[in-house]
């Protein structure tokens, strides 16, 4: 009897081992993906490519559906204006692949102006505010307040009802308070990022990596830039002044803190580009007569970078995520004009024929050498480009009044 029982037990054990090797206990990649990315199953995406972040993921099908939906929406007009211009930036610092050229470039800071059929205007980014910093202590050119720029190109700043912040760095989120009635759109991911790194643990880096400034890793003494500039540390681009601008919007009930994709209104869709430049970067898809324009702020710092598949302006960037964000533009603009419809924030050849989307440009009258470009008009709209546009490139380092008295 005991022998019989042992034999049965052996057979059961063997079956169990064999079954374990070839059956349900074997880890199936597909099952694992389903567990990890279950939220995407309903979208037909039961297996994500390994390089994507779950947070902010949008499948190609989802993006194409947004194109289809947008194409039934109203057509928008769009311009960019140059909030200011960084001068003499080492090309390799901006685009590592260009380091070998050993030259400098001038980088505009482009702000998008998008006008809907109802005349309401959406800004994409809001430019610089830090005037003393710009003019007295930095090699910068051409600053002009956005409200003045809009007046000068025939647009009414009082019609601005929304401001979509591509990201919240100081050179892109600086003039929010100039538009007290406009609603600002910002990703929660962006705010959480800043907050996380403000409390970044310093136990293992002696405070060398910090949010706002740094300490000397050898002496432990806090020192100032340039020796310990925080250029590449995670929260360096957010001076308190910029956070105050955002706080003002929140406290006045004029902020929408969003989480991922968001349709602002038909024809205007926000797409997350998390870690494409900062953690909470976001794109803006705009339905126009030349197809879908995709504004990218610093995720799309360089248009040639998108065209030629090169990273640019690496800050808190995961370079793979930047490429994936480039890909979103390729998908969204796939029906018309492709990468030519990607709108870059710092492209050095902006306002030239070499960046065709921006070729219809002119110097903003009394604009301190800042430039504007008409990207596209909705049918029936009249051009804002002057009959004889001034297209002589100029540089002005003249500071507007900016003294703050105690």
């Amino acid at each position: 009897m005991i022998r019989k029982l042992l034999r049965v037990a052996m057979i059961v054990g063997l079956v169990g081992v064999v079954g374990g090797l070839g059956g349900a206990d074997v880890l199936q990649a597909r099952q694992d993906d389903k567990e990890d990315h279950g939220g995407n199953q309903n979208n037909g995406e039961d297996k994500l490519p390994p390089q994507v972040l779950r947070s902010g993921f949008e499948s190609t099908d989802q993006l194409l559906r947004d194109v289809e939906r947008a194409e039934t929406a109203p057509l928008y007009s769009a311009w960019i204006v140059e909030s200011s211009r960084f001068m003499f930036v080492p090309f390799g610092g901006f685009q590592p692949d260009m380091a070998g050229l050993n030259t400098t470039v001038n980088l505009p800071v482009n702000v998008g102006i998008i006008e809907g059929p109802d005349g309401k205007i959406t800004l994409y980014d809001s430019g610089w505010k830090q005037l003393a910093y710009i003019f007295d202590w930095n090699t910068s050119c051409c600053w002009k307040g956005i409200r003045d720029q809009m007046h000068a190109i025939g647009l009414d700043p009082d019609k601005v009802t929304r401001i979509v912040l591509g990201h919240a760095h100081w050179d892109h989120a600086g003039q929010l308070s100039e538009f007290p009635d406009a609603v600002a759109y910002i990703q929660k991911e962006e705010l959480k990022q800043i907050d996380f790194f403000l409390n970044y643990p310093v136990d293992f880096n002696a405070g060398h990596i910090r949010a706002v400034n740094t300490v000397d890793p050898l002496t432990g003494a806090q020192v100032g830039p340039p020796a310990q500039a925080c250029a590449r540390t995670p929260v360096c681009g957010y001076p308190p002044q910029t956070i105050q601008e955002i706080l003002g919007k929140v406290l006045h009930g004029k902020a929408k803190i969003i989480d991922g994709r968001h349709e602002v209104t038909p024809g205007l869709v926000i797409h997350p580009a998390f870690r494409g430049h900062t953690y909470g970067s976001q794109l803006l898809q705009v339905n126009t007569a030349r197809g879908q324009l995709v504004f990218g702020s610093d995720t799309y710092s360089s248009w040639t970078g998108i065209r030629d598949w090169l990273v640019a302006n690496i800050q808190q960037t995961d370079t793979i995520q930047q490429f994936l964000a480039y890909e979103k533009c390729y998908v969204l603009a796939s029906r018309l004009n492709s990468f030519n419809n990607c709108v870059a924030a710092h492209e050095p050849i902006s306002y030239t024929a070499a960046y065709p989307l921006t070729a219809n440009w002119w110097n903003i009258p009394d604009g301190n050498c800042s430039r504007a470009a008409e990207l596209i008009l909705a049918p029936g709209k009249t051009t804002h480009v002057p009959a004889s546009p001034n297209r002589t490139l100029c540089v002005s380092m003249t500071a507007p009044p900016h003294t703050v008295s105690p």
Binding site: L198, G224, P239, E245, L251
Partner: protein, 124 residues
């Protein structure tokens, strides 16, 4: 300027934590108690910063900036003191009332900061 740097760092971090705390409180991502702690900590930092700044003897050429920074730190204290009232009477309007002072103060320290540490926030 070198003596101001660590003070500036403390002030900036506290101000940013306090501001973000208010934002995240309004989005329900931070509790009331945590916000209170942040504001109280910031107030301590601002008070300490004022004492430290007063103890400095700036050269004549920097006296104006010294005064400006002091004024900013006082504004931050007033702002925090106003905000903290919310935890006594429960009225969130105090955050709104506190805001203009912190905004003005942040403009001031950006002016002085830009002059003292021009590369603090490099191109982004």
């Amino acid at each position: 300027m070198r003596a101001m740097w660590p003070i500036h760092g403390d002030v900036e971090r506290s101000l940013t934590r306090m501001s973000l705390g208010q934002i995240l409180y309004k989005t329900d991502d931070l509790g009331r108690a945590e916000l209170k702690t942040r504001i109280e900590q910031a107030l301590v930092t601002y008070r300490g910063a004022e004492t430290r700044i007063r103890a400095l003897s700036p050269p004549t050429s920097l006296r104006g900036d010294h005064e400006q920074y002091l004024a900013a730190v006082r504004l931050f204290q007033e702002s925090a003191s106003e905000a903290i009232k919310m935890f006594k009477d429960g009225r969130e309007e105090h955050l709104l009332a506190a805001y203009p002072k912190s905004q003005e103060g942040s403009d001031k320290i950006r002016e002085v900061g830009g002059k003292f540490w021009p590369n603090e926030f490099p191109p982004n």
